[in-house]
Amino acid sequence: MSGPSNFKPKSAILQWTERRLPILGLMHSSFVAYPTPRNLNYWWTFGGILSFCLGVQIITGIVLAMHYTPTVAGAFESVEHIMRDVNYGWLIRYVHANGASMFFIAVYIHIFRGLYYGSYKEPREILWILGVIIFLLMMATAFMGYVLPWGQMSFWGATVITNLFSALPGVGPKIVELLWGGYSVDQPTLQRFFSLHYLLPFMIAGVVVLHIWALHEVGQNNPAGIDVKSDKDTVPFTPYATAKDNFAMICFMIFFAWFVFYIPNYLGHADNYIPANPLQTPTHIVPEWYFLPFYAILRAIPSKLGGVMAMFGSIALLAFLPWLDRAKTRSARYRPLFKQFFWVFVIVCIGLGWLGSKPAEGAYVIASRILTAYYFIHFLVILPLLSYYEKPAPVPASIADSVLGNQPLAPARVKGSR
């Protein structure tokens, strides 16, 4: 990782160690001396918050796994046993279950931050794509975790989602059998989901390392969306970013704790406290809130294969974003039109989430179709066109100027700047 570090530990023992494994120097250059743009706002604290969330899920998860039984006959009961008998089991489970939601709240803020400030643009394409991969792994992990308590929603969620693969022409049904290890969601499915649910968070941790490596190679973007030009534009990570990150994290923990202690089941679904019954589907099945926008897209398309493709496509599209939005100006601050479309897009995503929680009938379906179409149009039509036709506002000459309010402006980029 980059950043100037002439780090030399004081104690002789650490110097001895450092000559053999320069890990303290790496930490120092990455998290102490590392120069961060001086204009970062609180939207930039969510990276740290996300690392915190991953840590929380791994620690609480390992503890849950000490008491959990991955069998069709025992899973539901073992979760109730965690809730009633295990010392502080209720706390650990509620932290884990709500932790998943907190993780997604943080990741959605983090993603929309990137969308607003153009953090996916050159030279951060790989950084962005690694982020999309982390998002996909998170979705897979959360989906499989939700199956483990083996309630009605667990079972039917697993059935519906694995059945998405049956839409693939020809091989689809075979793939579904492969995923299930049988002819329906059953013991082999539960057991392998447990194994993978344990594994994937560690894979996420691995990709996070790559993500941070790429970040420290190209440097952080910032609210002005302009490159760091001199030392005047940056401050050292510690104490500046560390303090800000810590403050934000504590606020986040308060929010998190409010859910855990006061409304631990608010984000969950009551039907998941009914043991799984393979012969009866609940009348209204919905996924966890964080999947709702994608679920709405799935149901908006009246064909099975089409719906599945639109759903996966809506996520895959994100990976291509750096090449769909070619505008040179990064930050929405200096892109008056883009800024408006950004907020429309946010509303569309929230609208899709709301529609995903409604039954798929009548006006809801029509609305889902309109918003789904808009979702794709935003990426495939609006962003490419804006890159050509929008006239960006002049950007400040440097980060220092943008902070200090000096307005010696860089020459405005010409229309269709490419």
């Binding site: 039917w156 059935t159 519906v160 694995t162 059945n163 998405l164 049956s166 059998e177 492969l178 995923l179 299930w180 290890g181 049988g182 002819y183 329906s184 969601v185 059953d186 082999p188 392998r192 393979p278 012969l279 009866q280 589907t281 009348t283 209204h284 099945i285 149901r299 009246p302 064909s303 099975k304 719906g307 039954p359 798929a360 009938e361």
Partner: protein
């Protein structure tokens, strides 16, 4: 390169026509000093030889990408064998996920039909899934038989979904062909089944009529072992 090696190259070309292109080109580089590194050094790198002169061996024709050498062939061959080996190891790791012997062994179920009253649908479990056994009324059979095929998204006559002489018994897998929910009996616009998950309507023959499901409810293979006993699977 020795003549022997050239001949070997040509022989490979004769045996495996896809490598035919290699043979003459292997020959064409034969004038270049044989060196264990030749062909390895695709990037230009000076190499000292005994005579003390720097020679950039990579400036053979190999560098233009035109002249695959015997060594290139060996790389490709080694890589190919390695890939086959990796696939051979990967297959058991993938196949272990498929239904195992104990799951397959439970693949048939016997059901006594005598307690099922006319107009009643019972659900039995087969391979972990629900199977609907519907004892259809005259009206239901008639409705199913009278439906013109052109009204069906997945056209199939009722006669293809029941056994001859046993038209009162409709046996279908109770799994919605959309995404696998269990539809509810005697409901929906066609009074067959209705799937609450995403709104698919099936008729009294278990055929899809309306909604996102692409196909009719699946008829499993079954045989009547006696007048009142049926074996599914």
């Amino acid at each position: 390169m020795t003549l022997e090696a050239f001949n070997r190259g040509a022989a490979i070309g004769r045996i495996l026509p896809i490598f035919a292109g290699f043979a003459p080109r292997i020959g064409a580089t034969a004038d270049v000093q044989a060196s264990p590194f030749r062909g390895v050094l695709l990037e230009a790198r000076p190499l000292r030889r005994d005579d003390g002169k720097d020679r950039n061996l990579a400036t053979t024709k190999t560098m233009n990408g035109e002249q695959p050498t015997r060594r290139d062939f060996l790389y490709i061959a080694t890589g190919a064998v390695g890939a086959v080996g990796a696939a051979a190891v990967a297959w058991p790791l993938v196949h272990q996920m498929n239904p195992d012997a104990s799951v397959q062994a439970l693949a048939s179920t016997e059901v006594d039909l005598s307690p099922i009253a006319e107009g009643q649908i019972v659900t039995v479990k087969w391979r972990g899934k629900p199977v609907f056994i519907s004892h259809r009324t005259k009206a239901e059979i008639q409705a199913a038989e009278a439906t013109p095929l052109r009204d069906l998204p997945d056209p199939q006559p009722d006669s293809a979904r029941v056994q001859k002489g046993k038209e009162q018994w409709l046996i279908v897998v109770g799994v919605c062909t959309h995404l696998g929910c269990v539809p509810l009996g005697h409901q929906g616009d066609y009074k067959g089944w209705f799937c609450p998950c995403h709104g698919s309507h099936y008729d009294t023959s278990g055929r899809i009529r309306k909604g996102p499901a692409p196909a009719n409810l699946v008829v499993p293979s079954y045989t009547f072992t006696s007048d009142t006993m049926v074996r599914i699977g």
